[in-house]
Symmetry: C2
Subunit: 242 residues, 2 copies
């Protein structure tokens, strides 16, 4: 397969966790798509849309969110390059939430029906995609616990740990040192706090020596203590599949 194919990262990701033979990979690479370059903050899906396409991140970061009737935003997931942002929309008719880029990004829009037929024609691919959505769901469960039962400090430490590991798995970070692709307000919306409080807790984590930061770059200086602070265990990311 062309190693410069825009799905390269996605296929590599899928293949790491799932048994895909060469023909499976070729078939994924052969999916039709439209490539688009979009700015930070661009919407990929809006709550209530009936979409025709599914967005895959070629480069850049994205998140999915919901808005309460009061207008409060809750970010429900973060997405890295190589990830499908709304694979679920391939099988569900109307979007139950919105998705938006966090940074400038390149997106591949893939028709739902192509994904569905591929999944039917190549069960191994179907199962791989299914498994991806199951890992997604596992992360949702962890987030329910994070916002439901952890205090502010643990919530923030937890999400910083998650991000570090996911970036590392994607080859985008090393030594727990990375650039956070979001504002403190977005971070707040991901952990169910106010941006003011997030700011204070970040400072506190830095004062305690668990992290170092300047602007949006984060260095988790003391991984062991940070894990403890965030009550973090990577089990829910299912690294056993990588």
């Amino acid at each position: 397969m062309d190693p410069n194919h825009p799905f390269e990262a996605a296929i590599e990701r899928l293949g790491r966790r799932n048994p895909l033979d060469a023909a499976d990979r070729e078939a994924i690479a052969a999916l039709p798509y439209v490539r688009k370059r979009v700015a930070a903050g661009a919407h990929l899906v809006r709550d209530g849309d009936r979409t025709e396409n599914c967005a895959m991140l070629i480069t850049g970061f994205a998140h999915r969110y919901k808005i309460t009737g009061e207008g409060a935003r809750q970010i429900v997931s973060l997405h890295l390059p190589g990830e499908f942002v709304d694979l679920h929309n391939s099988l569900l008719e109307t979007a139950d939430h919105s998705a938006q880029t966090l940074t400038d990004a390149e997106i591949a829009f893939i028709p739902h029906h192509s994904i569905r037929s591929l999944a039917l024609a190549r069960p191994a691919v179907g199962q791989a995609l299914w498994r991806e959505t199951l890992i997604d769901a596992s992360i949702f469960r962890e987030w329910v616990m994070n916002v439901g039962r952890r205090d502010a400090r643990a919530r923030i430490a937890h999400i910083l740990c998650e991000f570090s590991l996911r970036l590392q798995a994607a080859g985008l970070a090393e030594n727990h040192c990375y650039e956070l692709p979001m504002t403190q307000e977005q971070l707040a919306d991901a952990v169910g706090l106010t941006s003011v409080h997030v700011n204070r807790v970040l400072r506190q984590l830095a004062e305690e020596g668990l992290i170092a930061r300047q602007r949006r770059s984060i260095v988790i200086g003391d991984w062991k203590r940070m894990r403890e602070a965030g009550d973090f265990s990577e089990r829910y990311l299912h690294p056993e599949l990588s």
Copy 2:
């Protein structure tokens, strides 16, 4: 198909949202299983287990939960008769959370490999199961928002609304009147509050005339106001598929 088959409710449920032909239904009904009767509070899976079977609720209610390092419990989902409790375990090696019955129940334990081979042999069934897990995930997203961004009153009203609709869809309730199969402490663990606070809010909702209750029976007397109180919209349950 035998209308008294223990999977009857589950197949009917699946078939409502997915195009399954007679052969597909027969194939599901032909899945091998072990039927067990268990008491309330019995564990179906424990966090960290590598299970061989997947539990389907024939009768009774169940929930899935996680425990923080501090020992706090967060219930991440509720399950009704006819639902698969841990379908995700069919594709993920180790359980990332626990599952437990809420009431006395009858469970069908189905080998993972049987489910996987059925999904591969009959893509329509595979897609139906995948879709079920996607709806599951949609509910997780709503719960993230519920615990992350709604206040106590809205959280509790929301979950009572969700329960009412899901029970009704399963033919287990009418007129927003049902028996809540859990204690206030369990309810608290589902919405990320303390049982003391849940108790006060339930009383308040009753005083406001939104619900009536005695012991665990709930009557949502004013559905319209209750929806508002809970900022509830059934879209995330994907009723368009029923």
